[in-house]
Symmetry: C2
């Protein structure tokens, strides 16, 4: 299939017997043009259905007004929300967006960066893959002075702006809430331990315990690989503990949902026998039975802030010095932690 021909300025120029620059000027509404000529040109352009070729423009001015976005997974509701926020606000400021997913692989992340850079995006917004444990590709971007920001899944040592949630704070909120509900022995189900969020959420969890004079108990801090099997395995281990913890805080909602489902299948009652909480406030959290207590993270807002700050820097409205924006989370208490009535 051949793509149909697009009308160019040259063609309008020929048809009207004027030079290409005149066309260019008319279409930019330059003041130094004879009004009549301008009128004719604009009219003809419309009639011929002229559309400027952004490619050519971009090549000339060495700016594409396009941003690259890399997320681990588009199908995650949270990242989809971020993208939505980025998209909406980029559009508002006249920027396009190219979106890539790393599928949680560092190799794809690197490949994505290559393509986006080759496509001459003006800047990047990146959320790191789960696998990303070395950062040459990011330092490389930095050294080549390609502006970028990190959001949600960040790496602290890279000197660029970062937009994150107060993960420790959120974990503190939810743990504190469970303690208030009467829990006294709360397990923590962590994701892979080198993940930023695993660490941060553990921090908040421990802080809340500490405030209640409860010391860390290593045997009830579990690690899952985030697969269904891994999550069920942890659920089983906790269910079989004697004595059993009276509450469980899972690092992310999907883990909590898997745990809940498994417990239901073996007859462990939530919240009567054990409280359960997650993190992120996925759509599923609200509809499981019992509804899951969790911590909401406004993804759309994160996207909005990330892109707004990036564009401010790009357009000189904000200083180039990297800043760190920390968004607060909100506790969403639901039935799964409701011990009192």
């Amino acid at each position: 299939m051949k793509k149909g021909h697009q009308v160019t300025m040259k063609e309008i120029a020929k048809k009207l017997g004027v030079s290409v620059s005149t066309i260019s000027r008319a279409l930019k509404d330059s003041p130094e043009l004879h009004p009549e000529t301008k009128r004719k040109i604009v009219e003809m352009a419309k009639e011929m259905n002229y559309q400027p070729n952004l490619l050519a423009q971009s090549l000339r001015i060495s700016r594409t007004k396009t941003l690259g976005v890399i997320v681990p997974e588009i199908t995650s509701h949270f990242f989809a929300s971020c993208i939505s926020g980025i998209q909406d606000f980029a559009t508002k400021r006249g920027y396009n967006v190219m979106i890539c997913q790393s599928n949680e692989f560092i190799d794809q992340e690197i490949a994505n960066i290559r393509t986006l850079v080759a496509s001459q995006v003006d800047a990047l917004l990146i959320s790191l893959s789960r696998e990303t444990n070395h950062f040459e590709h990011l330092f490389d971007l930095y050294n080549r002075e390609i502006p970028f920001v990190l959001f949600d899944r960040v790496q602290e040592d890279i000197p660029v702006s970062k937009i994150t949630f107060n993960d420790a704070g959120g974990a503190y909120q939810v743990t504190h809430h469970m303690l208030e509900q009467g829990c006294r022995r709360i397990a923590y189900v962590s994701g892979p331990e080198d993940l930023y969020i695993s660490k941060k959420r553990k921090e908040g969890y421990l802080k809340a315990l500490d405030e209640y004079g409860i010391t860390e108990e290593e045997s009830i801090i579990k690690v899952t690989d985030l697969t269904l099997e891994g999550n069920r395995k942890v659920a089983k281990e906790i269910a079989e503990m004697k004595p059993r913890p009276d509450g469980v805080f899972c690092m992310i909602d999907p883990v909590a949902v898997d745990v809940l489902t498994y417990w239901k299948s073996i007859g462990v009652k939530v919240p009567e026998e054990i409280c359960l909480a997650g993190f992120t406030d996925n759509p599923t959290a609200a509809v499981v039975e019992p509804p899951l207590t969790t911590v909401s993270q406004p993804g759309y807002e994160m996207g909005r802030l990330a892109v707004s700050h990036l564009l401010d820097q790009l357009e000189g409205l904000a200083s180039d010095d990297p800043i760190s924006i920390v968004l607060e989370t909100t506790l969403v208490p639901r039935k799964s932690t409701q011990k009192k009535h």
Copy 2:
């Protein structure tokens, strides 16, 4: 913030004291080059971290190897899956993807098309907004010979390839299943009536009823505007009917979930008092209590097929004649329709 300078062929040429054309040839591994020169150039390019400027290339060959995608909502799990499929397979064939969302507004859909076309995408994949009730913008694309396909939310009169699900078939499957479970008076909750899927799913619903010798009963075919309030209103109406239907088939899962939640709040028991089914197999459908019978639509697969066919046409591997690909859906029976044991 200023973007760092990108190395160009010109610079390599200067450094090595050869012409730009030689660089170009070396980098394309042209055979008519002195091996030693070639080696030197490739080495230097690597050392200088040269990256070809896709923009310039595209301008030259009038092809960007970029596809535009327009979906109603990125945050919908189904569309996110489609995007994921499109993305993965476009990448495999060396194409980039620019994604836009219409947010279900026709104006944004039109604006998205404009931007993508201006950005010189080679082709488009479009899923129409809910609002889209006139189609000049699509006929315009067609007339300008810009290749595109429609997927999921399509318009039948436009002579381009379309990828859809067998919506009528899926609705038939689920209605038939409810009949087999013993339901004899099944209500249908439709979305806005001019939506393609509203119509198609009603078709399948009626066909299944017909096969059981049950005639259409207008009073139990309800229409919702798909908002929470609308869905609850319908749920209330059905709950208050005397006699009450013994089954309800909702056009999409979110409606069914809202209905279920409302019924729970007023003590209507599913499936004991009334069966309930949805359509799409959203993640939420599996985790509500009781788990929701639904029809699964493989979004990733739809994306894969859509982009593969489009690229086949684009690259002359498939005929330009529009075709219609219809994907079959799969019934996912769950507890919400389980009358027998």
